[in-house]
C-alpha cells in the first residue's frame, strides 16, 4: 500500500457545479454506496459485521469540507461515509469488504477497519471509544512538530459513556491539542437509547465542562454542519484548543445487519426521515434554482455508475496469497 | 479425645486404601485377615501402622501387632487406646 497517494481520487465534479451541489453529490454517493453494501451483504458477498450510516450523511460530508490534506481523521466502525467523503476511492473500500488484496487494508480490515494513510484516514475502530486516544496522540504529534494539522475524531453517543472519552477530552483540553471531537449523536448506542445511558443527555453542555468550545449542531443539515465545522476547525487552527461538536443526527437503519432493531418505535424513525439530509438540501437547491429539472437524476446516474465500476473491480480483484498471512505482523524492511 | 468405633473403622479403611489404592475395603468382613487379603508385606504393614498412628494420635508398638490382624481388632485398639 504505497504512501502519499494523491487525495482527490473521486472523478472530478462536472465543471460549473456549485459548491452546494457538490455537497449533494457527496451525500448521494454515500447513500447509494451504503445501500448497495446492504444488498451485497444480504447476498452474502460482504461478511462479518456491517454498520451503515444511512441518514447521517450530512455529518460526514459537512465536517470534511472544513479539512485540508494536512488534517487527520480517526473514525469508528460506522465509517464508510467518512472514508468516502474524505476521498478514499470507492473501489478500494468495496474491495476491502470483499476481502480482496486490493482493498484499502489488503482485505484484512473489512468494513470496520478501513485505512488510507496517504489520505491520513487512520481507520475505523471496532472498540467503542477505542479511537479517541489515537486522535489525541495524532494531534499531540502534529502540535509538537509544528504541523498545522487538525485531527478529527468521530465517535458516537455510546462512546460518550466510555471512561476513555473522559480521559481523552480532558487530556486534549489540558494540553490544548488540535482535536475536533465530532460526536455523532444518533440517539442510540446499539440498543440503548441515550436517555437510558446518560443521566444528562445534553452532550454539548457536558462537554463544555472540560473548558472547551462546545456546540450542538443540527446533524441533518449539511450546510449547518459545514458552517459549524469550519468555525470549529478555524478556532482550533488559530490555537483555540480542542472543540466539541454534538452533531445531532439519526440512523434510519438498525445498528448493524444483525440488529432486529426492537428498541426503537417506528413512529420515531418516520419522524426523523422527514428531515432526511439529502431531501432537505434538494428542496433548498430547487428553491434557489441551483438544481433544475433532471439534474438530480443525472447526478444519481453518474454516482450509480461509479459504484457499479467499484463493485465490478472488487469482484475481479485477486485474493491475498495465504503465504502472506504472517506479513506485516512486524514492519517489513522496505517500509521507511 | 476419644475415638468412636465408626471413626476408627474409617481410619483403618483409609489407611488400607492409601497402601492398596484399588482395595475393596467397604465389602471387607470386619474379621478378615488384612495382611493376607491385601497381600501386605512387612513394609506395607509398617506403613499401615504408621498411617493409623498419624491419623489417630494413638501409640502402637510391635507388641500390639497381633491385635491388628483384622479391621475389628484395629478399631478396638484405637478406641481402647484413645479413651
Amino acid at each position: 500500500m504505497s504512501r502519499g497517494q494523491a487525495v482527490a481520487a473521486r472523478p472530478p465534479a462536472p465543471a460549473g457545479e456549485t459548491h452546494r451541489a457538490s455537497l449533494l453529490r457527496g451525500m448521494t454517493a454515500i447513500r447509494l454506496f451504503e445501500e448497495r453494501c446492504v444488498e451485497l451483504y444480504s447476498a452474502g458477498m460482504i461478511r462479518g459485521f456491517l454498520h451503515v450510516a444511512i441518514g447521517e450523511e450530512a455529518v460526514a460530508v459537512g465536517v470534511m469540507q472544513a479539512l485540508t490534506d494536512d488534517d487527520s481523521i480517526v473514525s469508528t466502525y460506522r465509517e464508510h461515509g467518512h472514508a468516502i467523503a474524505r476521498g478514499v476511492p470507492m473501489d478500494s473500500v468495496m474491495a476491502e469488504m470483499y476481502g480482496k488484496v486490493t482493498g484499502c487494508s489488503r482485505g484484512r480490515g473489512g468494513s470496520m477497519h478501513l485505512f488510507d494513510v496517504g489520505r491520513r484516514f487512520y481507520g475505523g475502530n471496532a472498540i467503542v471509544g477505542g479511537g479517541l486516544p489515537l486522535a489525541v496522540g495524532l494531534a499531540l504529534a502534529d502540535k509538537m512538530q509544528g504541523r498545522p494539522g487538525v485531527t478529527v475524531c468521530f465517535f458516537g453517543d455510546g462512546a460518550y459513556a466510555e471512561g476513555e472519552f473522559h480521559e481523552c477530552v480532558n487530556l486534549a483540553a489540558l494540553w490544548q491539542l488540535p482535536v475536533l471531537f465530532a460526536c455523532e449523536n444518533n440517539l442510540y448506542a446499539m440498543g440503548t437509547a441515550l436517555h437510558r445511558a446518560q443521566a444528562e443527555t445534553d452532550l454539548a453542555l457536558r462537554a463544555a465542562s472540560y473548558g472547551i468550545a462546545s456546540w450542538p449542531v443540527d446533524g441533518m443539515d449539511v450546510l449547518a454542519v459545514e458552517k459549524a465545522s469550519r468555525r470549529a476547525v478555524d478556532r482550533i487552527r488559530n490555537g483555540g484548543g480542542p472543540c466539541f461538536l454534538e452533531l445531532r443526527t439519526y440512523r434510519f437503519r438498525a445498528h448493524s445487519m444483525y440488529d432486529p432493531d426492537r428498541y426503537r418505535d417506528k413512529a420515531e424513525i418516520a419522524r426523523w426521515r422527514e428531515r432526511d439530509p439529502i431531501d432537505l438540501l434538494v428542496r433548498q437547491l430547487r428553491e434557489d434554482g441551483e438544481l433544475l429539472g433532471e439534474d438530480l437524476d443525472v447526478m444519481t446516474a453518474e454516482v450509480t455508475e461509479e459504484i457499479d465500476l467499484a463493485v465490478a473491480s472488487a469482484e475481479a480483484a485477486p485474493l491475498e496469497p495465504v503465504e502472506d498471512l504472517t506479513r506485516f505482523v512486524y514492519s517489513e524492511a522496505e517500509v521507511q | 479425645m476419644s475415638i468412636t468405633d465408626d471413626e476408627a473403622r474409617a481410619m483403618v479403611a483409609r489407611a488400607v486404601r492409601r497402601i492398596v489404592p484399588d482395595a475393596q475395603v467397604e465389602t471387607l468382613a470386619s474379621d478378615a485377615d488384612l495382611r493376607r487379603t491385601f497381600e501386605l508385606d512387612s513394609l506395607d504393614f509398617l506403613s499401615f501402622v504408621e498411617l493409623l498412628v498419624n491419623d489417630s494420635g494413638v501409640r502402637i508398638d510391635e507388641d500390639d501387632y497381633p491385635d491388628l490382624t483384622t479391621t475389628a481388632g484395629c478399631a478396638d485398639l484405637l478406641v481402647r487406646r484413645s479413651a
Binding site: 500500500m1 504512501r3 | 504408621e50 508398638d61
Partner: protein, 477 residues
C-alpha cells in the same frame, strides 16, 4: 537520617534549615535530604536546642546516622519554648511513602523545557520511482502482478519478482521468521524417547543395537519392544517356539506395560539359565539375638523410623559382600569384573506380577536407619513406576526376600550380568539345640545362588557364615 522510601538505605544531606543554637520543636523542618528520587524536608522528632551539626551538607550517610545533636531545653529556654508553643502541634502522620516535595531549586529555576524531539522530516511523497528500483534489480515491470490498491505494482511486488528470478541462488540465511512456525526437534543420530529409554531398561534391551522405524528417526517404545522380543527368542529356536501372548479375554489380561515387563523377565531369566552354571549353598541362621535387639530398638524409635528384619538382613549382606568381593560384581567378556562398591539389588514384586530389582547404592556405608528409609522409598517408587535409570542399571548383588510371601526357602536365579543372588525365606520358630539343650528359636533360611564361572561353593559358604556371625551381634551394625 530517616528512611524516606521502601528502597532507601542511605541519603545525602543537602542543606540545613536551622542554625546552631536555634530552638526546635517537634515537627519543625530541620534539613533537606536527597533520597536519589527527590529532595525531601526532614523534620525534628524532638524538642531541644541545636547544639552541633554532626554531618556536613553534601555528604551521603546511611539511614539512621545521627545528623545533629540537640541539647535538652534548659529551664529558661523550656518555659520560653512552652509559651510560644501553640496547642500541642500534632506532627502530621508520616506519609506511608515519602512526600515528594518539589526540590528547593538553589539557582534561578530553569523549568526543564519538555525536550522537543528533532522534527522527523516526513518521507518526501513519491519514493524513488519504481521504474528505477526495478531496473536496478533487473525486473521487467510489465510482467509483475501488482498487489497495491487497484492493482498498482508496489515496491514489495518488485522485490518478490526479483527474488523469484534469483530462485536458483539460495539466499545464504533464511530471514528470521517471527514467532510463527513451531521448531520441530530433528532427531540427530539415534535419539531415544524417554518412555523408550525406560522400557529398554526394564526389558534389558541394549539401545545401541535398536534401529528406529519412526519417521523422524527417533527410537520409540515400539522399536524397543520389537528388539526385546527378538532377543528373547534364541536365534536358533524355531519360530513356533515363541509362545503367543494370552488371547485377550483369557482371565485378566495384564496391561501392555505388564505384558512387556513379563517379556523382559522371561528374556532375562532364560539368558541366565542358558549362560550361568548355577551352584547353590544354604544355611539356617538363629535370629534370636537380632529379633530381640530389633524389638528393644523399635520401642525407642518413632513409628516412622521403626526397622523391619529385612533391613537388618540387607545391611549384614552388604557388609559380607564387602568382605567377599568376588561375589559382588559382573561376568562380562569371559571374566569377572568386580563392582566398584556394594550396590545391593532388592527384588520387589510390583502388584500385577512384574518383578524389578533396583539397587540401594553404597549399601554397606548406610546405617540401619538409612537402609530402612532407602528400602521404603525404593519399594514405593518401584511400585509407582518411577525408578531412576541408575537404580535399574547396576546392582552388584541381588537379595530376594520372599519371607512375607510365606516360603521358608528361596533358591533363586541370578540376574545377569551379576554373579550371585541371596534368597531369604520366612522367619520361622524352629526347635534349636544350644549347648545340648533343645529350645525354640526364631530362624531364617538363607540360600546363595552362585555363578560357578566366577566363584566356587566354598566362597558362597564363607559368605553365608560371615552373614550369620554378623547377625549374632546386631548392635555392632
Amino acid at each position: 537520617m530517616p528512611s524516606l522510601g521502601a528502597d532507601m538505605d542511605s541519603g545525602t544531606l543537602v542543606e540545613w534549615l536551622v542554625h546552631e543554637g536555634d530552638t526546635v520543636h517537634r515537627g519543625d523542618p530541620m534539613a533537606v535530604v536527597d533520597t536519589d528520587k527527590s529532595a525531601i524536608e526532614v523534620e525534628s522528632f524532638d524538642e531541644g536546642v541545636v547544639e552541633s551539626f554532626l554531618v556536613e551538607p553534601g555528604t551521603r550517610v546511611a539511614v539512621g546516622t545521627p545528623l545533629a545533636a540537640l541539647a535538652p531545653l534548659t529551664g529558661a529556654t523550656a518555659e520560653a519554648a512552652e509559651r510560644q508553643l501553640p496547642a500541642p502541634a500534632r506532627r502530621p502522620p508520616a506519609r506511608k511513602h515519602a512526600a515528594t516535595r518539589p526540590p528547593a531549586e538553589p539557582g534561578p529555576s530553569t523549568a526543564a523545557r519538555p525536550r522537543v524531539p528533532k522534527p522527523r522530516v516526513p518521507v518526501p511523497v513519491g519514493a524513488p520511482p519504481l521504474r528505477h528500483h526495478a531496473a536496478e534489480l533487473g525486473v521487467d515491470l510489465t510482467r509483475v502482478a501488482g498487489t497495491g490498491p487497484h492493482g498498482e505494482v508496489t515496491r514489495a511486488d518488485v522485490d518478490r519478482a526479483a527474488a523469484e528470478a534469483r530462485a536458483g541462488a539460495r539466499p545464504e540465511r533464511a530471514p528470521v521468521r517471527p514467532e510463527t512456525a513451531p521448531v520441530r526437534p530433528v532427531a540427530r543420530g539415534t535419539q531415544v524417547s524417554p518412555y523408550a529409554r525406560r522400557l529398554a531398561e526394564e526389558l534389558g534391551v541394549d539401545l545401541a543395537r535398536v534401529s528406529s522405524t519412526g519417521r523422524d528417526g527417533a527410537v520409540r517404545a515400539e522399536d524397543v519392544r520389537r528388539a526385546a522380543e527378538a532377543s528373547a527368542r534364541p536365534p536358533s529356536a524355531p519360530v513356533e517356539a515363541r509362545e503367543e501372548a494370552p488371547a485377550p479375554g483369557a482371565g485378566e489380561v495384564p496391561g501392555s506395560w505388564e505384558r512387556s515387563a513379563r517379556a523382559t523377565i522371561a528374556a532375562l531369566m532364560s539368558r541366565s539359565k542358558r549362560e550361568i552354571p548355577h551352584y547353590y549353598v544354604a544355611t539356617t541362621v538363629d535370629l534370636s539375638a537380632a529379633t530381640e535387639w530389633l524389638r528393644r530398638t523399635n520401642r525407642e524409635r518413632p513409628v516412622s523410623e521403626r526397622l523391619v528384619p529385612a533391613a537388618l538382613l540387607l545391611k549384614t549382606t552388604a557388609l559380607a559382600a564387602r568382605q567377599h568381593p568376588e561375589l559382588n560384581g559382573f561376568w562380562a567378556d569371559g571374566r569377572f569384573v568386580p563392582g566398584e562398591d556394594v550396590h545391593l539389588g532388592v527384588a520387589v514384586s510390583v502388584r500385577g506380577g512384574a518383578l524389578v530389582a533396583p539397587a540401594i547404592h553404597h549399601t554397606a556405608d548406610l546405617d540401619l536407619g538409612e537402609v530402612m528409609a532407602a528400602l521404603r522409598d525404593l519399594v514405593k517408587r518401584a511400585r509407582a513406576g518411577r525408578l531412576r535409570r541408575a537404580e535399574m542399571a547396576d546392582p552388584t548383588l541381588t537379595v530376594t526376600d520372599l519371607g512375607d510371601q510365606g516360603v521358608e526357602e528361596v533358591i533363586g536365579v541370578i540376574y545377569p550380568p551379576q554373579v550371585a543372588l541371596l534368597g531369604v525365606g520366612r522367619i520361622v520358630e524352629r526347635p534349636w539345640a544350644v549347648d545340648g539343650m533343645i529350645g525354640v528359636r526364631p530362624t531364617v533360611r538363607l540360600t546363595l545362588s552362585g555363578d560357578h564361572r566366577a566363584t566356587d561353593g566354598a566362597t558362597g559358604a564363607r559368605f553365608l557364615n560371615t552373614i550369620e556371625r554378623l547377625l549374632l551381634h546386631p548392635e555392632e551394625l
